[in-house]
Symmetry: C2
Subunit: 419 residues, 2 copies
Amino acid sequence: MRRLFLRALERSASSGAFAFVFADGERFEQGAAPWEFVAHFKTEAALADCVRRGSLGFGEAYMQGNIEVEGDLQHLVRVGQAMAHSGFRPGFLEIARFVLGSLLRRNTLSGSRRNIATHYDLGNDFYARFLDPQMQYTCAYFEVPEDSLEQAQLNKMDLVCRKLGLKPGQEIVEAGCGWGGLALHAATHYGVRVTSYNISKEQIAWARERALALGVGPEQVEYRLEDYRSIPKLGKRFDHFVSVGMLEHVGRENYRRFFDLIHRVTRPEGRALVHSIGRSYPSRIDAWLERYIFPGAYIPSLGEITASLESPGRLWQVSDVENLRLHYAVTLDHWAARLEAHVAEIVEQHGEEFVRMFRLYLRSAAAGFRWGGLQLYQLVLEMQPGDGPPCTRHAMLHHEAAGKPLLAPVRKAPAPYER
Amino acid sequence: MRRLFLRALERSASSGAFAFVFADGERFEQGAAPWEFVAHFKTEAALADCVRRGSLGFGEAYMQGNIEVEGDLQHLVRVGQAMAHSGFRPGFLEIARFVLGSLLRRNTLSGSRRNIATHYDLGNDFYARFLDPQMQYTCAYFEVPEDSLEQAQLNKMDLVCRKLGLKPGQEIVEAGCGWGGLALHAATHYGVRVTSYNISKEQIAWARERALALGVGPEQVEYRLEDYRSIPKLGKRFDHFVSVGMLEHVGRENYRRFFDLIHRVTRPEGRALVHSIGRSYPSRIDAWLERYIFPGAYIPSLGEITASLESPGRLWQVSDVENLRLHYAVTLDHWAARLEAHVAEIVEQHGEEFVRMFRLYLRSAAAGFRWGGLQLYQLVLEMQPGDGPPCTRHAMLHHEAAGKPLLAPVRKAPAPYER
């Protein structure tokens, strides 16, 4: 096993300084201290798990404490990704088991409810420990690297609102609203009315409570505990459609239906913004991540997204795509640091294995965005071509304050070309 | 014929005020004066041509003067597009003839040379009559609608250079350089060395002459009269790859090869910028356009572009996509206005039919970008994922003047959020 492992490590030609310590104390080192990480296989079985079952084996061994890591876990994941990339993969049986498992977790209406509850109903208190006060659980936008997480999440919400070109009085529909922060931000800062869909009970309850506390009534923001596939039942069209961090849960087999729905429920003059994790090329989601964190999830390539929205005779267009992958890496750094700052309470409430699982998820996602081909795409769609003056990106991000006081000041970005 | 035509017109539900006048003087009007256009069918055959052979029949009848149009031709094209869209299409025989024709014009190495010569070797004097002084024959970038064509073409070149993040001393390779303006701009304003490929003899001759006149030697810009497929023969890698307005001529069957080539000839730390006309959904190019203007051309959808660059195990990424379709519509307005300003000389040199052909091409393209689902995509690719501070669009467009004097001042864009 050790020989197999070390040979795969060599083949991967991973850079960096790191060390592996095996159960009998034997040590493999690459480079010299300071180490990016030192990984200890506490048992021979843990090593065998990694070799035989790839990321699923590694993830389970790590969760159970049979692998201990000093230093930043993301560097270990980087090395693991490089090994997988150079052909170190779980065998056929493990893949078959994974495919069968994910079929069981398909995103039918009830399947989606189960899949979403698994992750998003872990308890609002838990999420509040590492998220920002608006409970934004998607990629933030760091205008400058020094932005706090709070500021960067406000930036992200403004970025989304501005790309949509929100105007006071417009009606917006949101598919997958998390804890409702974006809807609240859009309603209170941009004067729009938002109807938000989510099938996570815990999130919707929290969102409603917060809106109530802030005096925002359902005539401004309406949170609906319903699947996004119910939006057409309202029998109306909205000015704009927005979905931030939900496409990952839609499932590849539903993409055409998802985009057809957007086209159907948005007015011809409107826009849609879809914000989703993506990847460099079509591929299955990591087996450990699908099993333990996001059951039923699928991460699309940009080609899969754009090809699914194209339809003969349909004259709508992608007018903008921005890739925020490094913003997500930094967002995940912030979340992980906050998790560690509260690790004692979380262990007490959820147990050691849960914390190890969550830590591995946050650090492996950061590694994926930095080095592993994970992307974060924000697509803007215009429902139909239309004439008008050519749009620039400066114009796209322009917003007149609409005469309404803002809850928080919208930050002025520095002038372009000047940093 | 007339009944068929009018029924299709009704089905298309086209908006606007316009009139058709038939050969016997009968007149069909929609709306009221002032008319967007009044189209005269001078012969019954011209009408039959449109009904039986779609855009190819219309285009030929217009070129021959059997259809006359008062007002802006683009509105007539808009109505024609709407008719085609609602099912008014040439019959099977016409489609088969078109498909056979385009097979004959495939982009093999010699086929590409023939196809490119057909359009780009029409004579530099002719193009100089309606293009800007830099002879930019691709979409300009209007920072403000009032920008002159000259300014907007400079803006476009700066936009491309800045998206690539050019740094002094870097080596750039360009596939399809037109009259060489971008290479010259990048070399003289950004201090890079450019190797540019083009198979149009006329364009390369003009480019070399201009570089010579400006004192830019082949150590700064080298123009090669060669197919882009020869780039790998140099046996080296470049810092960045750029291709503005050539993908349209690559042919769908060569996309994978095109993107493989980019990946092979660009350094891992580098970027590529691909600027191409696109369309809302995969579809053949207009038959008239392929026959008379761009033999062998194919206009891809964004899905076709992005799917062709994705390849299992290849960790590169699309980091940005901007759609400049309305910028192209305005660019085409400028070109058409300049063409009309010199119409007498051009008729004298090239004949009436040629001018009518070129006018129809410029106005139908403008209509396509405004209403017909034509897009202009600028894609930025990063060759491999890498860590670093998250990039913002402000940062992407940032450029320190590199200590070199600029030939023309780089315009400061207005502050974001302020217009």
